[in-house]
């Protein structure tokens, strides 16, 4: 792992507007991502965790500009992603690939495995027919699919195998960064480990960088080098994986970590139970958005938004306690 930043994001925001009413338009704004900044170093895995609806998937899609209209800066290898033309954007998508959550929905049911994996090469006009075929065979071998799977259709595979197809598709163009959007959350637990290990293996083999989005803390701990915790569109804490899990600072991170089940019936754990629902992002609480559920809430928390600040080398927290 080098110290070079492959991807740098500063102050990324995106709000979705919905308008209600026929004659009188009532605008409703939802801040899905609200001022997110982080960087991903070459060769590392940055995990992003958070409850559903916290904006982690939106962040991933904003980086690839699959969702347009994000504000803030996205810098990939010195290129300003936000200002790329449609043509250059398509070129960029050769270097950044994505693995999707639902392996049942992310593969076109009418294409054979061969076509699904070969398609990125066709789109980017890489190689001749022969070379492409060779590359597809290579990648299939890497992800553990057999050559006789080539002519089959996605519905003939199990969930784990389908996710391997999805990984092969992401791998085939030799990307630098892979954004994995909950790649194992739709799979059986027994299959999750296999797929995670596959992701780890190919990371080493091809020197890949991952942005790994998940809600499962165990999964994130297993695969990440650094972890960012998101709450209501904002990053509340970001640290090296061991540091974060052993020494969490933010009350939200502490509550999240205490909710992880421990496989030991005699273990008496001291769970911090969060009360209340996650607030609506269309009407977020004032100040620190977490103050409505925080058990160490102070007056300042209701008034002022905490900013992300360094409390130790590589450990940043957005909380007024620090």
């Amino acid at each position: 792992m080098t110290n070079k930043n492959l991807l740098q994001i500063s102050n990324l925001s995106k709000s979705f507007e919905s308008s209600k009413g026929f004659f009188r338009k009532v605008k409703n704004e939802v801040k899905a991502v609200d001022g997110v900044s982080f960087e991903v170093k070459q060769g590392e895995t940055l995990g992003i965790v958070g409850e559903s609806g916290c904006g982690k998937s939106t962040t991933g899609r904003l980086i690839m500009r699959l969702i347009e209209g994000g504000k803030g800066k996205i810098n990939f290898e010195g290129q300003d992603v936000q200002s790329l033309s449609t043509k250059d954007l398509r070129k960029l998508r050769r270097d950044i690939q994505m693995i999707f959550q639902d392996p049942y929905a992310s593969l076109n049911p009418r294409h054979t495995v061969e076509k699904i994996i070969e398609e990125p090469l066709i789109v980017h006009k890489i190689g001749t027919k022969e070379e492409r075929r060779k590359r597809v065979a290579e990648v299939m071998d890497v992800v553990g699919l057999s050559p006789y799977h080539l002519k089959r259709y996605p519905h003939q595979f199990s969930g784990g195998q389908r996710q391997r197809i999805g990984i092969a598709r992401a791998l085939v163009t030799n990307p630098k960064l892979i954004i994995a959007d909950e790649p194992v959350s739709a799979l059986d637990v027994s299959i999750q480990a296999q797929v995670l290990n596959l992701l780890k293996d190919i990371q080493v083999e091809f020197g890949l960088t991952y942005l790994f989005i998940a809600h499962d803390l165990g999964v994130v701990r297993h695969i990440s080098d650094r972890v960012a915790v998101m709450y209501l569109g904002r990053i509340v804490e970001i640290a090296e994986v061991e540091e974060l899990f052993e020494n969490p600072k933010h009350p939200y991170t502490k509550a999240l970590l205490s909710s992880v089940p421990v496989p030991d019936p005699t273990f008496e754990k001291q769970e911090i139970v969060l009360t209340g629902e996650i607030p609506s992002p269309s009407n977020p609480p004032s100040g620190c958005t977490f103050h409505t559920r925080c058990n160490s809430c102070m007056d300042i928390c209701k008034a002022e938004k905490p900013v992300l600040q360094q409390i130790q080398s590589g450990h940043q927290v957005a909380c007024h306690l620090f």
Partner: protein, 288 residues
Amino acid sequence: MKNEEIVEKEKTPFREFWESFRANRLALVGLGIVFFFIVIAIFAPLLTSYAPDSQNLADRLLPPSASHYFGTDDFGRDLFTRVVYGARLSLWVGFLSVLGSALIGTFLGIVAGYYGKWLDTIISRFFDILLAFPSILLAIAIVAILGPSLQNALIAIAIVNVPTFGRLVRSKVLSVKQEEYILAARAIGMGDTRILTHHILPNSIAPVIVQGTLAIATAIIEAAALGFLGMGAQAPMPEWGKMLADSRQYLTDAPGTLFFPGFAIMFTVLGFNLIGDGLRDALDPKMK
């Protein structure tokens, strides 16, 4: 035995469709009927020694016999010959008009569904306007503008059916567009054209095939209706609807002049409807 050899035969989507279609008896009957009429239409000159418009006024309104299987009409023309040649006209009108409306409708539907916004509004309102007219009335109006002939009837029927296909495709595209594999396609770096032709179209086409088969049946009836009203095929063309109209007054003297073309219409339409229902069950089980 090696692992590779135990693998079952590869199932392509077409193979699966055919297996499910074949299990449907009624659909096979429909296929048989339609196939029968297609064969008749192709080999019409071999099936009869008469010409469809050769008159023999001495043999007017004869009952069915060995020399005239279906009897003769009011001009002494052989009815069997006319019904057989009529199959050519009806199938031609049915296929061609549906092909036209399916192509135009699918194109408009895809544009409206995929690009949305003002394009969608314009196209959808256009469909609404066309659908606001009773279809046969609209067809008559179009024929009235273009002038009565079989070809213009065909064009009119094609135009009338465009919104049916357009709406069907639009709604299908709207749902396919939201699928994750479309997002995946964009993430790969694919452009709109390839997404439309390789991903959206193949996944939206099944209901068009079903609707197309059913629409052929409707188109044949509409062509016959226009012919009956004098807005379609003109004399002496052996068009079934026109034949019905011409023989109306001889119903009591020579009922065959009405029955045979009538049955021909009924059976072709039945055949296409049975195929259409079978296709629907095989291609799109959710539509049942």
